[in-house]
Symmetry: C2
Subunit: 342 residues, 2 copies
């Protein structure tokens, strides 16, 4: 078995753009131009190139392109919990806009863990992502902000307007107030609050909204009716509800800062034999699609989830396109959706 002689060997046709160039009888520069849709190429030449691309089945190596253009066309999305329907919907909004602008989404579930978030954030410095959207707790974000106001990122849903990072969200203070005022209007006086972990800024804002609405109504807020849970799981809501009901003077209404929590609350209430809304009213927050399906259908504060994500992506893209221009913070409207749980 001899090695093929020199004469028999095919000149190995070059790979990549060079192969296409050779096949089309043009230079690599020209191939690159038609690939990138530059206009300064004679139609006939363009056709030759396109034909060569088609027959060779060539695909551009974006690894090379990315190095050359110094961009990854990836947007990093950091979210505390992909499994939460609220975040899932926001993510969809982000993805839609990203795609629309030729970007893909690198999704990272941080579990709201500062350590993980920091290391993900480092992806920006390593140029693996061009920008980031952060849905994580404000405490985490502040750390990021100190470290690098210079890196392109925006805050979504959870934000601190004072740190100087572009953001999109709702007015959590007013939204929570709206919920409480509704409960008050329905005659409730003993209103409990089941809140997220306090390192979420939105949790603090919603609590303040709750507190102030109560105070404005001339009602004292019993501390025993205020609970913080460290996860938005259904289970967390269920056990919080049970705990609330075990008190000597239990609340007649419960406001939970997340629909998932509220759904858990309803389940928990049921398990301790209370009926909703007759024995105790329940209001949620977010208006995930499930809210309308459970029994009883959930009264809640609707957030424009999709739009929140879309806006975050747009803000980031804008910042990427024009790094020096100031990107504003934007507040989207919430609304109270009255169903049957309260």
């Amino acid at each position: 078995m001899d090695k093929p002689s020199q004469r028999d060997m095919q000149a190995p046709s070059p790979e990549g753009i060079a192969g296409v160039a050779e096949q089309a009888g043009v230079s690599v520069a020209t191939v690159s131009r038609v690939l990138n849709g530059h206009s300064n190429v004679r139609p006939a030449t363009r056709d030759k190139v396109l034909a060569a691309v088609a027959t060779s089945g060539y695909r551009v190596n974006e690894l090379a392109r990315n190095l050359r253009t110094a961009e990854s066309r990836l947007l990093l999305t950091m979210v505390p919990d992909v499994g939460n329907p609220f975040y899932a919907e926001v993510i969809r909004g982000i993805d839609a806009i990203a795609q629309q602008h030729g970007y893909f989404m690198l999704l990272c579930d941080t579990g709201a863990d500062p350590g993980r978030e920091r290391s993900y954030f480092d992806l920006l410095r390593r140029r693996r992502a061009d920008g980031a959207i952060c849905l994580d707790p404000a405490t985490v974000q502040q750390a990021l902000a100190e470290e690098s106001n210079t890196l392109p990122w925006v805050a979504c849903c959870e934000f601190d307007s004072s740190v100087g990072v572009p953001y999109v969200g709702i007015d959590n203070y007013r939204a929570a107030g709206d919920a409480v005022r509704y409960l008050l209007a329905r005659g409730h006086r003993r209103i409990a609050l089941i809140n997220s972990d306090d390192h979420y800024l939105y949790a603090q804002q919603r609590q303040q909204g709750y507190l102030d609405a109560l105070r404005d109504a001339g009602i004292g807020a019993d501390e025993r009716w205020r609970l913080n849970v460290n996860s938005l799981d259904y289970e967390a809501g269920a056990s919080a509800a049970a705990l609330l009901m075990s008190q000597p003077e239990p609340p007649t209404a419960i406001f939970a800062v997340s629909d998932t929590l509220a759904i858990g609350v309803i389940a928990g209430l049921r398990s301790v034999g209370r009926r909703v809304p007759d024995d105790v009213a329940v209001a949620g927050f977010d208006d995930i699609s499930l809210a309308a399906q459970i029994d009883p259908p959930l009264t809640t504060i609707a957030q424009p989830m999709r739009e929140l994500g879309e806006t975050a992506a747009r803000l980031l893209l804008q910042r990427l396109a024009n790094p020096r221009e100031n990107v504003p913070g934007v507040l989207l409207a919430h609304r109270l959706v009255v169903r049957q749980s309260a």
Copy 2:
């Protein structure tokens, strides 16, 4: 304002690895070695480099590294619907394993659209992702398989064992049979099936399991009790249930191939005044965390969601590490979880 004279200008210290090399007084090769943890570097040298890295705040440019090593260290995950809790949990499993092996996840929501899936799949050819995990309908996957058995991808949850692509999933036929046999054992004879769109292979398999279980019990399956819906939304389940109940001889039990559907079914039943499980029993599929929370708690077939994702990622990683080795298909165990809806 004069331009700084030649004498005043700082020699611009080189960026990147070269800067670190200069600062540490070694060559770029050495820097690269310590950065990549190669062992053949004298400790003293290593320390010098590390110090230079630390003081300069240098971060490797992964765009360059990726080009050089010809890998993106990204895993593409194509899923029909990120919003579905079932998929969300599978995704978490994938992400966990990917991270653990130094990969990140590119998440793409295909909406089960063949066109979108095809274009995402092209990311592999363009070297933007090293491999892909596909949760999309088998019809779509078959198209991919024909086009390129050569590209590194695996099927997850939804698979066709005959196309020769590595996969992980459960035995859908048996699982559906188990659900139906349980309903039969509870005395039901009129059992409806609310199924996914038929282009999902799992839908066909579950239907066959349903049909055969009925036949084995000597019961004819009325076609009017078989419905296919084109989305797994709660709403789809709700309207399907209402439709079923409007028939002259409505079923006494409903088996839905997804928990989200089943939850919608329960809501739909309630809206037409039927009680679950007294008037009609409902069984679901997946055992998402929500299943235990709704009223009544859902009887369902549990899938090991997390493990499904983890296994898919491992399979893919294995295929990536050893392209010529045959990667097997793997079937994970399901189980019937009896709660109160049936």
